[in-house]
């Protein structure tokens, strides 16, 4: 679980701090305000911290190499150089990326725009990890990242290719593939709640996906079996969530945060409620969720299904440009989301319709 993120001179951000809910976080903003970057950097740092904290005998050089490779792995900067992720034209020192945990332990790094560093680890000016002694991050606590484009339909043969060749997929895709490919965990390691989520997903999809290994995925409904590719993209997204629970990659209360980029993309509006229900259910089991969205339908369902009595908590984070600088407004109250780019976009749509009505 991550308490906050601080970014300075990193990609599109000058100076930004986001305080996260320990349950559900929704990142909103118009294109170009860095929603996906927020998700990716949180994922990379969470993952890097997990790896460097797990081995106290790791050398400083190894820690820097791992940390750097996590960030360049998810962002895929030009020429794979970490320095290219420093904000162009930024002043005031190095780029800084830092995450903070609930017990105030921090993990962060800083780097400059050095493009000449021989290995990316060299580009890191300062790597600070105050979790070495104070917090042991369990190996299981790996985060999960679900990208906007579902991967089930093009996984066949990909795991082998990725091992051998330099492909253009960023680490979020290859990590997810690995998490889908591993065998299912013992049912006793799942909970009643996660089993209920899996049952609900099977009901919505009217079937389930079968992972045969090597990236081969089929879909079983009644007594028939189909190629995953002929199923609806929305079902493949839900199937991804199902499989992550099945393999134990997603283990509420045990594993790391879930990051989901545009969970609503290509999802039938009728299925959005099911996704929101599943996410609330995961959050009730202490799963931290951070998602990015443009979709009014999705945020509205979060508002409508919110139940304070069962411990629900949602924080809305709006990224917006203020004189060229990206800032964030965070609120726990749906009515207080300001600015509200999603509402504004729908307002604009209906204003146009109104002009035509007149």
């Amino acid at each position: 679980m991550i308490k906050s993120l601080y970014l300075k001179n990193f990609t599109v951000f000058d100076d930004l701090r986001i305080d996260l809910s320990n349950k559900i976080n929704i990142i909103m903003g118009v294109n170009g305000t860095g929603k996906t970057h927020i998700l990716k950097v949180l994922y990379a740092m969470c993952k890097a911290n997990g790896d460097v904290s797990a081995d106290n005998n790791m050398s400083e050089e190894e820690k820097r190499d791992i940390s750097s490779s996590m960030i360049t792995g998810v962002f895929k900067p030009l020429d794979g150089v970490l320095g290219n992720l420093k904000k162009t034209g930024s002043k005031g020192g190095n780029a800084i990326v830092e995450i903070e945990y609930p017990d105030n332990a921090k993990f962060g790094l800083s780097f400059n725009a050095n493009k000449q560093a021989s290995g990316n680890g060299d580009a890191i000016k300062d790597l600070f990890n105050h979790t070495y002694e104070s917090v042991y991050v369990p190996i299981d606590a790996h985060p999960v990242f679900i990208p906007a484009k579902e991967i089930i339909s093009f996984m066949a043969g990909l795991p082998a290719l990725v091992q051998k060749y330099e492909l253009s997929f960023d680490m979020t895709y290859t990590d997810l593939m690995s998490q889908l490919e591993i065998p299912a965990i013992q049912k006793s390691l799942r909970t009643i709640r996660t089993d209920a989520i899996m049952e609900e997903i099977e009901k919505i999809c009217v079937g389930r996906f079968e992972f045969k290994g090597g990236g081969n995925v089929t879909f079983k409904a009644d007594k028939a079996e189909y190629s995953a590719n002929v199923t609806a993209e929305g079902f493949r997204k839900l199937g991804t969530l199902y499989r992550l629970i099945e393999t134990g990659a997603l283990r509420p209360g045990v594993g790391g945060p879930l990051f989901w980029d545009e969970p609503d993309a290509n999802l039938n509006p009728l299925q959005v409620k099911g996704v929101v229900d599943a996410l609330y259910s995961l959050a009730q089991s202490e799963q931290q969720v951070v998602l990015a969205t443009h979709n009014y339908n999705l945020i509205k369902w979060f508002d409508l299904l919110f139940d304070k009595d069962r411990g629900d908590h949602v924080r809305y984070h709006v990224l917006y440009r203020d004189k060229g600088v990206i800032r964030v407004n965070s609120t726990d109250d749906f009515d207080s989301i300001d600015p509200n780019p999603i509402l504004d976009a729908f307002s604009e749509l209906y204003d146009e319709e109104l002009e035509r009505y007149v």
Partner: protein, 170 residues
């Protein structure tokens, strides 16, 4: 007693107390710049403030729609609706009748509106009220809904609203 607002008429069950609130002969505040919602419904566990907007009224069809659109486009609609709520709240508070949760319903009879638009209007109005604040100990409005006549009648079968012109009244 009749509960009539131009072409719309309320038919509350006998057990439900309804007040025609926006009546200058009774509220005594015409010399002040205070606005009022059209009706108040008094339930055992809540008050419902009801404001009726009727662009589809046969009395003023084209004019009604034009005025409504003008108010909507300029933002005057949200301002008027939230002022009606706030002023009504103050009046009722002074009467010692702010002791129950208050639900604010704005009924807009206009064929242009559909479910997504009603949702949008609801969210826009909620931002304008406001309903609550982290620093407040009570909610200013328990609920705030903009809805159609059909949805009002579904949610409030004990206070059906009908169009008088369709019942043969003029």
């Amino acid at each position: 007693m009749d509960y009539i607002e131009k072409d719309l008429e309320l038919f509350p069950e006998s057990t439900l107390r309804v007040i025609k609130f926006d009546d200058p002969h009774t509220h005594g505040l015409t010399s002040f710049d205070m606005k009022a919602v059209d009706f108040i419904l008094e339930y055992p566990d809540k008050y419902v403030y009801l404001e009726l907007k009727d662009p589809d009224s046969p009395d003023s069809r084209a004019g009604g729609v034009r005025r409504f659109i003008a108010d909507y486009k300029t933002g005057a609609l949200k301002t008027k609706l939230s002022k009606k709520y706030r002023d009504t709240f103050i009046y009722r508070w002074a009467q010692n009748k702010a002791d129950k949760p208050i639900h604010y319903y704005v009924l807009i009879c206009w064929d242009f509106l559909d479910v997504p638009k009603y949702n949008l209007l609801t969210d826009s109005l909620k931002k304008h009220l406001p309903r609550r604040s982290e620093k407040w100990r009570r909610k200013f409005a328990e609920k705030c809904v903009v809805l159609s006549l059909t949805d009002w009648n579904k949610q409030f079968p004990d206070c059906i609203i009908r169009r008088r012109s369709l019942m043969g009244h003029h």
